[in-house]
Each structure stands twice: as C-alpha cells, then as structure tokens.
C-alpha cells in the first residue's frame, strides 16, 4: 500500500470538488487547503486513483511545507473535512503562515504508525506587489 495525496480545489462538499495539480495561493492571506488521501498502488493506467480512508482509533494528518531555514519550516495539523468521507482533509493557514512554493510533505499517523509522502510542486505562492526581485 503506497499512500499519497491529491490536491483538491473548488471544494463545496464531499461530492462536489475538483482535483488540481497544485494549490495556488497568495501570501499574507488566510487560506484553506483541501486534499484527498489516495492509494497510489490502486491507480489505473489512465491515472485514476482510489481514495484511501485511514482506519484506526487515533488518526492524525500533518502537512509540512519544507524550508531550508529552521525558522521557515511550517507544519500544520490537518482536520477531516467530513465524517462521511475520511479521505478528505483540510489545513487552515493564517495570514501569517506563509509556505514556500514547492514540494509539500504529508504525515499520516494511524495508531502511532507514521507514513510519509509528498506532492511534487504541490503549492504555488504568489507575492503580489513584491515580485520585482527575489
């Protein structure tokens, strides 16, 4: 079993959302990022993936936005979106929590067992008004 995650966009309810290649957000704004846990081993040749619903008594999901700077590393606990679909999760970022564009790492902890996986280039962050230099 190879667990992974897919970026969810335009979330309305558990039956109404779309998938995306990456989250696209603007810095210094509060953002809610949705994602779905999937089982990559069950992916079809055409790229269809099956959702993964973790089963256990104690389930935690953390989303890590990496940084080379210890102070820039951002780890946010995710919350399940609905009791009706345990594969869908979300993280809320405050305006002060600004991740760096790039890969996103996930930690799924079920009854003390941790599985880590990531999305390549999972987030794009724009900095309106300050993109003249970097």
């Amino acid at each position: 079993m190879k667990i992974s995650a897919r970026v969810v966009k335009n979330y309305a309810n558990i039956n109404n959302f779309s998938f995306g290649n990456q989250w696209e957000i603007r810095a210094n704004e509060p953002n809610t990022l949705y994602f779905q846990l999937v089982d990559s081993d069950l992916a079809s040749k055409e790229g269809c993936q099956f959702r993964y619903i973790p089963v256990g008594t104690d389930i935690d999901v953390n989303v890590i936005f990496p940084s080379i700077d210890d102070d820039g590393d951002l780890t946010v606990a995710a919350a399940p979106v609905s009791a009706a679909d345990g594969s869908l999760w979300k993280v809320d970022l405050t305006a002060l929590q600004v991740p760096a564009s790039g890969n996103v790492v996930f930690e799924l902890i079920v009854d003390g067992v941790t599985r880590s996986f990531g999305i390549v280039n999972g987030i794009q962050v724009e900095y309106p008004g300050s993109e003249g230099s970097c």
Binding site: N21, I68, E131, S133
Partner: protein, 278 residues
Amino acid sequence: MANLNKSLSYGTAIYPVHADETSGLVKRCEPILSPEQLRSRYLKGIPMAFPNGDTFTDADLKDKIMLAMNEAELLLNMTINRESFRQKLPMDRSLYNAYIHLRAERGPIISLEKLAIVSSNRQNIFEIPADWIESANFAKRLINVIPLMAAYGSNQLQGSTTSTNAGIAFLTIMGGLGWVPAYWEIEYTAGMSAKEGQVPVPVNELIGVIAAISILSLIAPTNIWTSQSLSQDGVSQSSSGPGPQVYRIRLEELEAKKHEIIKKLKGIFTGKFFIDNI
C-alpha cells in the same frame, strides 16, 4: 534544514543582482512552472497525444518539469532554490594576500554562516569574525576577509565569536605558508533566489524550454509518414508532410534559446578573477 540565525548576507536581492529595492511594476520572480503554464507558454497547438493512444497527462508534465529543473541545475551548476552547503577550500598564498580571496563551489551565495580554519578532524581552530567578512560579492560566489575595521577602526566586534583581535596576528603568521589544501571551511546557503520558492523568470524560462524540448522530441518521431497516397478506379489523392521532422525548426529555436539563457544566467551569477603567483 539549517539554523540560519548567524547568517551574514549583503542584504540585496539575488535577482536582479544587487537590487536594493524594486518597484513591483515589473514581475521578475514567480513560483516554479506549473503544468498549465508549461502548456500555455511552450506547447500551444501541439497535440499531446500519440498515435497508439498514449497522452501526456498533467502528472507527466509535472514529471517533465521536475526533470527539467534538475537538468537546469546541472547545466548552470547552481541550485534553483536556496540550499545549505559546507565545503573546504585550500589556503593559497596568492589568494591569501589578496584579502583571503575565496570562491565558493556553489553560488550565488545568499548567506554565509561560517568561515573558519578547521582541522582535518573537524576541530574549529579559528573562526573569522563576521565583521571582517566582505559580503558585497556574494552574488559572484566571492568571499573576502577585509579586517580594515579591526585594524584601523573600532576594536569592538559585536556578535562575533572572537572577542579580541588576536586573530589578525594568527592570520599574519599563517600568511607565510604557500599552500595548504582543505584549510578554510565555509558554511553557506546558495541559490538563485533569496525568497524561498520564488525563482527568477529567466530560470523558469530555461526550465520550460528544457521540458518543451524533451516533450517535442518524444512526439515528433511518432509522426512517421512523410507522404501518403490513395488511389481507386483511376481516382487518386496524395498528401505529403514533414514526417518525423515536424518540429525540427521549433526544436532548433528552443535549443538556441536554451544556450542563450544559460550563457546570460552564468554571466550574471559568476565572474572570473585571476590571481596567481608570478
């Protein structure tokens, strides 16, 4: 991850080099290319499907972008994002006499965490105080030690691990040596952007061009027919096309563009200085 609390940097942007402040009227930095941007900037009008039914999915394009990023880093000998490095440099007398002229393996240097004389068993023998280190040429990978402040100005070094100026005498004695391999140890971060996750637009252009070349060179050979004809009962029709050469001109243009961007980026982020014993 690295602890960058002791960082020494020049304080200007990495791109444009030495930009102290920018208006924001022109966009020069952006996140790494997305599959949608790759398609709209470089692959408009290109059928992303093969005759056998295979297609380029967004996941495939993402993979191509990842491969192109790594190729770009190799071609430029620079890391796209800020990364932390540690290396040892030799003590060369001529470079030593030129205000300890050191050139880091990776660049542009965003910040310097440590410059020290470190023994082979990794003992810190002497750490150069940050106040003596000239950071103005970090963009060109250059580190100089110019302790003029210590010699002529204030003797108080704030925030350094050396409380007195005894190091100057130490450095003077060591200046008598000709060559010591693996003498200076530097710890630094380098990358093409001081803002994590943002890359200069020309770097994204290079990544896109490399990815587009890879994709077009996969699609073109599947266009195998140069001519086709059909005849029946004295009526015939024929057509001819470029066949596998279909994207040859486009590929040549992209290759030329790739070399031009690499040349320009290397030009702005590196410099050649020749200092030697005569």
